[in-house]
C-alpha cells in the first residue's frame, strides 16, 4: 500500500472512531444504580428490595454535623441549611430539630383532634378542661407564655404541641438554640433524606455536592465545617477512591505497556497503530449497547472492558509474526485461522450470557462479542494495511533463538495435567473459609474512620438502622395504617425490653380512618361542650369569649371526613409520610424504620408471629441472597459457555488430540487459579468469576498459537515471541492491579495475573505438538 493510501485509511479509521465516540457520548446512558444490574427477584424479600424500596429509607439518610465555630453560629447555619435543603427536589426531607408548629397546614388544623391520641383516653368534659385550663394559666405566668399565647384561644389543650412532639424523630438528640446538637454541645446535627438510593453513586454525589454548596453559602464568614456521613457518603467515597486508584494504576499500566511494546517492536508507529483495534472494539461495543439497550450499567462496562482486554493480544500476534519476507497482509492471512478460531469460540461462548435473562449479563455479552469481533476484524482487515514494509523480525533476535532452543527442549509430561488438576481440586475442597463472598460491600469496604464517625453520629441522632426494616403490605393505604396501629404497642414493648431504641410508624403521622372516626365520635357537640367549658372556667380569670375559636374548631372537627393519605401527602408533612407509605401496582406498602436495633432475634420472633401484620426485611440478607442468585446465573452461563467453547474448538480443530491440547492448559489453569486463591484465604466473588473468564480467554489464545506452530523454526520463534509479549504485557497490567489496596481491584488483578502465569507455562508444557521435539 502506498503511503498516501495508508494515511487515507488511518484518517478514515480515526474519523469513524470519532463518529462512534460522539454517538456513544450522546446516546449511551450509564446507570450506576446497583438494582439494574441485578437479576429479577424471586423471594418476597428480594422483590421488596428491588422493586419497592430500593435499598431502604435508612440508606437514603445523610447525617450532617457542623462544628468548628461557636454553638450560636452553628445553630444559625443549621437553620439556614435546612431551608435550602427543603427547597431542593433531590431531598425528601431535612430535619434539624426545629419544632415546626405550623407543620399542619392551616386548612387541616381542625384535624388535630382526629390525629392526636388525646381523645383515646380522655373526654373533653369539665374535669379535663378544668385541669388543662389551670395549666394554661400557669403557662401564661411562665416564660413559655410568649409562644403559647397565640395558640391558646383555639387550642387550650395544646393538641398541636402533642402532635409536634409525636412527629419528632424517635430518640431525639439534645438541643441548643432550638436545633439538634451533640451531647457535648460542640456539633450541630442535621438529617437529610435523599430521593436517590444510597448505593447510586452518581445521584448521591449530585445530592452531596448540593449539600456542600448550601453549606458554603450558609456558613460564609464563619469557621464552621461540615461533616457528612451515611451510606450514600460511603458509596461516593468508595466510588471515587476506586476510580482514582484504577486510573492511577491505569496510567502506570499504559506507560509500562507502551515501553514493553517499544522494546519488543522498536517502531513507534507500529505501537500506536496497535492501540486502534482495542479502541475500535471498545467503542463499537458501547455503540452496540447504546443501540440495543439505550444504556448500560457501570458495572457492565467495567467488566466488559476487563473482558475485551484480551483483544490487545491480536495486534501483538500480528506484529510478532511480521518479517521482511512476507507482507503484513500475507502474515495476517496465515495467522487468521488460528486467531479467528480463538475469537469465534470466545464470542460464541459469550452467547451463553446473552441467554441468561439478566439485563446486566446480556449487556455484557453484547459488549464483549461486538468488541472482540471488531478488534479481530480491524486487526485483520485494517491494521495490516497501516503497517510499514520494514518491520522488526523477531526471528532474527539472538536471545529469542537461545530461549526457543531451551523451550523446545522442555519435556511434555503426560501425567502433569491430571496431577495438577487433582491437586487443585483437593486444595479447593480442603481450603479453609467460605468458598463464596456474597457481601459485595466486603469488596469495597468503607474506610474505618468513616465507619466509626458514622456510628457516632448515628447514635447521637438516633438515626434509623440501615439493615433492618419492617414492611407492612395492604390493599389500600388505610389497611396499611390500621396494621401500623396494631404494631404500635408491640414495638413499644420491644422498646421497653431494650431490643430496639425506637421506631417510626406511618400511623404516627396519619391514624387510620377507623381511629379517626372513633376519636371524632368522642368529640362533644356544642350543647355538651359549652356548659362543660363554662364550668371549667369558673373561678379562672380568663376573659369571656377567650375560647370561642376552640369551640368552633371542635364543632368543625365533628363533621370532617377522616383525613386520607392523599390529602396528607399534599400537606407540608406529606413527604415524611410518603417515605413510609407508598402505593405499588395495585397495593400499598408501609415501611417501619427501626432505631438502634440491639436484638434482631426479638424482631425476627415478632415478625414471625401470625398476628403481626408485617414482615421483617433484613436488607443485608436480601442483598446477599440476590448476589447469590446472580452468581448462580453467572455460573450456569459459564457452564453453557464452556460447553459451547468445546464444541466450537472441536469443530475448528477436528482431531481429538488437538482439541485436548488446546483446552487442557486452559481448564487446568482455571482449577489452579481457584486453588491458589482459596489457599490464599480468598472467598470468591463475581469479580473473581469475571476475571477467571478473561484468564480462560487468554489461555485459549496462547494454546491455540502454541498448538498451531509451523514446521519452520523461524516461524516457531515468532510465535514464541508473540506469546511472550502477550503474556508479559498482560502480566504487567494485572500485576499492578493485584498490588492495589482495594479488594475489588485486587480480586481482578490477582486472578488474571495467576491466570497469565499458569496459562503460559501450561500452554508451553501441554499445548505444543510432540513433533517439535523430534524436530529439535
Amino acid at each position: 500500500m502506498t503511503l498516501r493510501a495508508r494515511v487515507t485509511l488511518l484518517a478514515v479509521w480515526l474519523a469513524v472512531l470519532a463518529g462512534l465516540l460522539f454517538y456513544v457520548l450522546s446516546a449511551l446512558k450509564v446507570s450506576t444504580d446497583l438494582r439494574s444490574f441485578m437479576p429479577p427477584a424471586r423471594t418476597p424479600e428480594q422483590r421488596l428490595l428491588l422493586d419497592e424500596i430500593g435499598e431502604g429509607p435508612g440508606s437514603r439518610l445523610l447525617l450532617l454535623a457542623l462544628h468548628g465555630d461557636e454553638p450560636d453560629a452553628l445553630a444559625d447555619i443549621s437553620k439556614a441549611l435546612v431551608l435550602r435543603i427543603r427547597d431542593d427536589k433531590r431531598f425528601v426531607r431535612a430535619l434539624n430539630g426545629e419544632g415546626d408548629l405550623g407543620a399542619l397546614a392551616q386548612d387541616l388544623l381542625p384535624y388535630r383532634y382526629l390525629l392526636s391520641p388525646t381523645l383515646d383516653t380522655q373526654a373533653f368534659d369539665a374535669d379535663y378542661l378544668r385541669s388543662e385550663l389551670e395549666q394554661r394559666v400557669q403557662d401564661l405566668g411562665s416564660p413559655a407564655a410568649a409562644w403559647l399565647k397565640p395558640l391558646l384561644g383555639s387550642d387550650p389543650t395544646l393538641e398541636m404541641l402533642k402532635l409536634a412532639e409525636a412527629w419528632a424523630p424517635p430518640g431525639e438528640p439534645e438541643r441548643y438554640a432550638e436545633v439538634w446538637f451533640t451531647r457535648d454541645g460542640k456539633q450541630a446535627l442535621l438529617l437529610a433524606e435523599t430521593v436517590a438510593g444510597g448505593f447510586d453513586p452518581s445521584a448521591q454525589r449530585d445530592a452531596q455536592d448540593a449539600l456542600e454548596q448550601y453549606f458554603r453559602d450558609s456558613s460564609k464568614d464563619t469557621h464552621a465545617q461540615l461533616v457528612l456521613s451515611g451510606p450514600g457518603v460511603f458509596t461516593v467515597r468508595i466510588n471515587a477512591t476506586t476510580s482514582d486508584e484504577a486510573n492511577r494504576i491505569g496510567l502506570f499500566d499504559s506507560i509500562g505497556f507502551i515501553t514493553l511494546l517499544l522494546l519488543a517492536y522498536r517502531r513507534i508507529g507500529t505501537v500506536l497503530a496497535g492501540a486502534l483495534p482495542l479502541v475500535s472494539g471498545g467503542l463499537a461495543g458501547m455503540a452496540a449497547l447504546a443501540l440495543l439497550f439505550g444504556g448500560a450499567h457501570g458495572i457492565t462496562l467495567a467488566f466488559g472492558f476487563t473482558l475485551i482486554g484480551v483483544a490487545q493480544d491480536y495486534p501483538i500476534h500480528l506484529f510478532s509474526h511480521l518479517s521482511r519476507e512476507r507482507s503484513p497482509v500475507t502474515v495476517a492471512q496465515l495467522l487468521w485461522p488460528t486467531l479467528a478460531t480463538g475469537v469465534a469460540s470466545t464470542c460464541i461462548a459469550y452467547l451463553a450470557f446473552f441467554a441468561s435473562g439478566v439485563d446486566g449479563l446480556e449487556q455484557l455479552a453484547v459488549f464483549t462479542i461486538v468488541g472482540l469481533a471488531t478488534a479481530a476484524l480491524t486487526t485483520r482487515f485494517g491494521l495490516v494495511h497501516l503497517l510499514g514494509s520494514r518491520p522488526l523480525d523477531a526471528a532474527q533476535s539472538a536471545w529469542l533463538a537461545a530461549l526457543w532452543r531451551r523451550v523446545a527442549a522442555l519435556p511434555r509430561p503426560r501425567w502433569l495435567a491430571p496431577l495438577l488438576a487433582t491437586a487443585a481440586v483437593v486444595a479447593v475442597y480442603f481450603a479453609p473459609g467460605s468458598f463464596w463472598e456474597n457481601n459485595l460491600a466486603a469488596l469495597t469496604p468503607a474506610p474505618l474512620d468513616l465507619v466509626a464517625q458514622d456510628t457516632r453520629l448515628r447514635q447521637e441522632l438516633g438515626a434509623p438502622d440501615v439493615r433492618h426494616l419492617l414492611v407492612i403490605e395492604g390493599d389500600d393505604a388505610d389497611a396499611v395504617l390500621a396494621a401500623s396501629e396494631k404494631l404500635d404497642p408491640l414495638l413499644a414493648q420491644l422498646q421497653t425490653d431494650g431490643a430496639i431504641a425506637g421506631y417510626e410508624l406511618p400511623s404516627r403521622y396519619l391514624p387510620s380512618a377507623a381511629t379517626q372516626r372513633a376519636r371524632q365520635a368522642k368529640l362533644p357537640d356544642a350543647a355538651t361542650l359549652q356548659p362543660a367549658l363554662a364550668q371549667a372556667l369558673l373561678g379562672l380569670s380568663f376573659k369571656p369569649g377567650s375560647f370561642d375559636a376552640f369551640a368552633r374548631d371542635v364543632e368543625a372537627a365533628r363533621t370532617l371526613a377522616p383525613l386520607d393519605a392523599q390529602r396528607f401527602f399534599e400537606s407540608p408533612l406529606g413527604l415524611r409520610l410518603k417515605a413510609q407509605l407508598q402505593p405499588r401496582d395495585g397495593h400499598w406498602i408501609g415501611l417501619v424504620s427501626l432505631v438502634g436495633v440491639k436484638d434482631s432475634g426479638a424482631l425476627v420472633a415478632l415478625a414471625a408471629r401470625p398476628d403481626v401484620p408485617a414482615h421483617l426485611l433484613d436488607l443485608k440478607h436480601a442483598s446477599e441472597s440476590l448476589v447469590a442468585a446472580y452468581r448462580t446465573r453467572v455460573l450456569y452461563s459459564l457452564a453453557v459457555a464452556a460447553l459451547l467453547l468445546v464444541v466450537v474448538v472441536s469443530i475448528a480443530l477436528r482431531r481429538r488430540r488437538r482439541v485436548l491440547q488446546v483446552l487442557l492448559p486452559m481448564a487446568v489453569t482455571t482449577l489452579l487459579i481457584l486453588a491458589a486463591l482459596r489457599l490464599g484465604g480468598v472467598s470468591l466473588s463475581l469479580f473473581h468469576l469475571i476475571a477467571l473468564v478473561l484468564a480462560a480467554g487468554l489461555g485459549l489464545d496462547y494454546a491455540l498459537f502454541f498448538e498451531h506452530v509451523e514446521d519452520d523454526e523461524h516461524e516457531q520463534r515468532r510465535t514464541l515471541h508473540a506469546i511472550l509479549v502477550c503474556s508479559a504485557s498482560t502480566f504487567l497490567v494485572f500485576l499492578l492491579l493485584a498490588l492495589s489496596s482495594l479488594p475489588v481491584l485486587r480480586a481482578i488483578g490477582a486472578t488474571v495475573t495467576l491466570g497469565v502465569v499458569f496459562n503460559f507455562v501450561l500452554a508451553l508444557l501441554l499445548a505444543r505438538p510432540q513433533r517439535e521435539i523430534r524436530d529439535a
Binding site: 395549666q135 394559666v137 405566668g141 416564660p143 413559655a144 407564655a145 410568649a146 441548643y176 376573659k543
Partner: protein
C-alpha cells in the same frame, strides 16, 4: 434576702472604675446615656451568685385579673438564671445557655429556646447586665435614661435592636441607693409584668394589684 445588697468586696469597685475609664467613650455613638446614668449602673454591680425572694405581678391580656406569683430568683452567672415559683403553685424555670426549662410537679418538663421567649430574653439581658454593673453591655442593647437622685432612682431601658423592640417596649428599673427593687417590663402586645425584689419582695399587695399602686411602691412611696 440581703444577698442582692452590695457585699462590697475590695475588687468590685476597682473593676467598675477601670471599665468606666476605658470603655465608656468608644462604645456609644447614638442616643448615648449621660455620665450620670452610666455611673448609676456601675454602682449596681454585685457579686455572684445572688439570690432574692421576689413577687411578680403579670398583666396578661387574656386574663381579667393579673397573676401574682411569689418565689425566689437565683442569678448564678450572665447566662444562668433560676426562677422558682412557690405560690400560688409550684414551678421551676431554669435558664441556661439559651435554653429554658420549665418544670412542674408530675408533668414532663417543657424545654424551649430562649429565642422563642424574646421578652424573657430581653429581661434576662437587662437583669444580668444591671447586676453586673456593666453599663457598656447594657448600652449596646438599650437606649438608657435615668431619673431621680442617688438615693431614689429610675433607669429606663428602650431596646435598640428591632428584633427585641418587636416584643419589648421598655424596661423600667427602680431602686434605692445601689439596690434595684423593681423590674417593670412592658411588652408590645399589651402584656406587662412588674417584678418586685429585695426589700419589696414581701410587700403587701391588694388581691387584684393595680399598676398605679405598683408604680408607687417601686418609687418608694407608701
Amino acid at each position: 434576702m440581703s444577698l442582692l445588697l452590695p457585699l462590697a468586696s475590695q475588687a468590685a469597685p476597682d473593676q467598675a472604675e477601670s471599665r468606666q475609664a476605658t470603655a465608656a467613650p468608644a462604645a456609644c455613638s447614638k442616643d448615648c446615656a449621660s455620665a450620670q446614668t452610666l455611673r448609676l449602673i456601675e454602682r449596681l454591680k454585685r457579686p455572684l451568685p445572688a439570690t432574692t425572694r421576689y413577687t411578680e405581678v403579670r398583666f396578661v391580656e387574656m386574663l381579667d385579673a393579673p397573676l401574682t406569683l411569689r418565689g425566689d430568683l437565683t442569678y448564678a452567672s450572665a447566662n444562668e438564671l433560676g426562677k422558682r415559683v412557690m405560690s400560688p403553685y409550684e414551678e421551676t424555670t431554669t435558664i441556661a445557655n439559651g435554653q429554658v426549662e420549665i418544670a412542674r410537679k408530675g408533668k414532663p418538663a417543657k424545654r424551649f429556646s430562649l429565642k422563642r421567649a424574646p421578652a424573657l430574653a430581653g429581661f434576662l439581658e437587662s437583669f444580668s447586665a444591671t447586676l453586673d454593673g456593666d453599663a457598656k453591655r447594657l448600652e449596646r442593647s438599650y437606649v438608657l435614661t435615668s431619673d431621680g437622685d442617688d438615693h431614689r432612682w429610675q433607669l429606663q431601658l428602650v431596646p435598640r435592636e428591632a428584633a427585641l423592640a418587636k416584643h419589648v417596649k421598655r424596661v423600667l428599673i427602680s431602686g434605692q441607693d445601689t439596690t434595684p427593687l423593681c423590674f417593670d417590663v412592658e411588652e408590645t402586645g399589651g402584656d406587662s409584668s412588674v417584678l418586685l425584689v429585695d426589700k419589696l419582695a414581701d410587700a403587701a399587695l391588694d388581691a387584684v394589684p393595680q399598676q398605679a399602686h405598683l408604680q408607687q411602691l417601686c418609687q418608694g412611696k407608701p
